[in-house]
């Protein structure tokens, strides 16, 4: 199948790649781009493990064609910590033991980050409903919600 050349920005870096027309963004991130932090849990938009941002907006990378990245800014988990320094959400996830197996963690962090950018002072209920598209089977969500609320509080300081 003939490939399409795509020019985009990923985590602030100008990036080019070739993809098939039916490749998803997740296929390209995990394959040729080697950004395996975005995980494939379902390929149907039901688990959120592949969450990324496109021009700052939260999406499932399994539900987006890679060719659609042309001219847009993509953000993935790999771009969250800057210069080796963890973003407060990442730090709070560690402090609160908000991950067990860790497979949902990148998606949870990307989704939580998108929430806090939009709403720096969410209630517990707002966090829970925002994260409803991110399945976690290990934690029962308790510590994840606490970590997000704690990170929000710290980021407001």
């Amino acid at each position: 199948m003939s490939k399409i050349h795509v020019t985009t920005t990923i985590n602030g870096e100008p990036t080019e790649f070739l993809c098939a027309p039916d490749n998803t963004m997740l296929d390209v991130l995990r394959g040729p781009l080697g950004l395996t932090g975005s995980k494939e849990g379902c390929s149907s938009g039901d688990c959120g493990a592949c969450s990324i941002t496109v021009d700052g907006r939260l999406v499932c990378s399994c539900l987006m064609l890679a060719v659609e990245a042309e001219g847009h800014e993509i953000g993935t988990i790999e771009g969250m910590a800057k210069g080796g320094k963890l973003q407060p959400l990442q730090q709070k996830f560690l402090e609160h033991a908000a991950l067990q197996c860790g497979i949902c963690t990148p998606g949870m962090l990307v989704a939580s980050d998108a929430l806090l950018r939009k709403n720096p002072n969410p209630t517990e209920e707002e966090v829970r409903f925002w994260l409803a598209g991110n399945l976690c089977r290990c934690t029962g969500y308790d510590k994840i919600v606490r970590a997000v609320l704690d990170a929000a509080a710290e980021m407001r300081r």
Binding site: L58, L63, A114, G133, N134
Partner: protein, 289 residues
């Protein structure tokens, strides 16, 4: 492993030309939250994908001079939510559009896609029906308008003609004292497909309901406009008897199936329960303004 072509036309005419030329092998890509799942599962194998998101008319929200709204068919739920005025005028439509999937899905999914996907359970459809929304479709033979309730033809099918593309939704201006609401029943609190969904739009003057529309989803092969339910509400003070009559009209309109998401009996019962609850919210909104 058939060859797939991806096209991202910049104009509607270009899109229609490409879409019509490709015939039945073509699929329109708006948010892609249904299309990509169908492609991945092997349900569809399009030869041409026409991405309509680079067409301004399909991605913009316009408040018309008469106070109505024109929403591009590919506008995502998240973008609609960010519009300064839309959610104030049509809170029920907005909440319906933003019940489609997760926050991630809302970042992509559009009311146009939700309607054209043809699922009887699409959340935005009953709310759009209740709102009295009209869609503009355009094809090789020009433009025409259809009422939203005329678009679905059955599960996975629409009444769009070959080559036609859904362009936009037009929502009418709101008279004073109007309110709308959408409620659905799902087993969890999020992430499920509606077992029953109900959209209600009301106008109330001096405590009396002067106009009403009721849209009902997931209980028949297509989402329905339930005119008897609206009639039961109009001219009343939305008292218990009127609500029960409207609920009965909704139950009577149901032609559901038993499936993995609910039983016939449960869906019929729920349609009545949700009618009452949805009317209460819409009425509150109508009288708060």
């Amino acid at each position: 492993m058939a060859e797939i072509r991806y096209l991202a036309p910049r104009s509607l005419d270009e899109a229609i030309g490409a879409f019509a030329a490709a015939g039945s092998a073509a699929r329109i890509l708006a948010g892609g939250t249904d299309l990509l799942v169908q492609m991945r599962s092997g349900m569809v194998a399009p030869g041409v994908i026409v991405d309509i998101k680079k067409i301004p008319e399909m991605t913009t929200i316009e408040e018309t001079s008469d106070g109505g709204f024109r929403i591009g068919a590919a506008v995502s739920g998240a973008v609609l939510a960010e519009h300064a005025r839309f959610g104030k005028v049509w809170p029920g439509v907005l909440e319906a559009v933003n019940l489609i999937g997760s926050k991630q899905v809302q970042g992509r999914a559009s009311a146009g896609g939700n309607l054209c996907n043809g699922s009887p359970a699409g959340d935005s459809v009953p709310a759009m029906i209740a709102a009295g929304a009209v869609v503009t479709v355009q094809g090789p033979n020009g433009r025409r308008e259809m009422k939203v309730e005329e678009v679905p033809a059955g599960p996975g099918r629409t009444n769009l003609k070959p080559g036609e593309i859904l362009v936009s939704f037009k929502l009418p201006p709101r008279p004073p004292g109007s309110g709308d609401a959408y409620l659905r029943m799902i087993p969890r609190t999020e992430m499920d497909i509606a077992v029953v969904g109900i959209g209600v739009s009301l106008t109330i003057k001096d405590g009396v309901c002067t106009a009403a529309r009721v849209g009902l989803g997931a209980v028949a092969p297509t989402a329905l406009l339930v005119e008897p339910a609206a009639k039961a509400l109009i001219g009343t003070k939305l008292d218990a008897a009127a609500l029960e009559k409207a609920a009965e009209a909704c139950r009577a309109a149901c032609r559901p199936i038993d499936d993995k998401r609910g039983t016939v009996a449960y869906r019929i019962k729920t349609a009545g329960v949700l009618l009452k609850r949805t009317v209460a919210i819409a009425a509150k909104r109508a009288t708060e303004k």
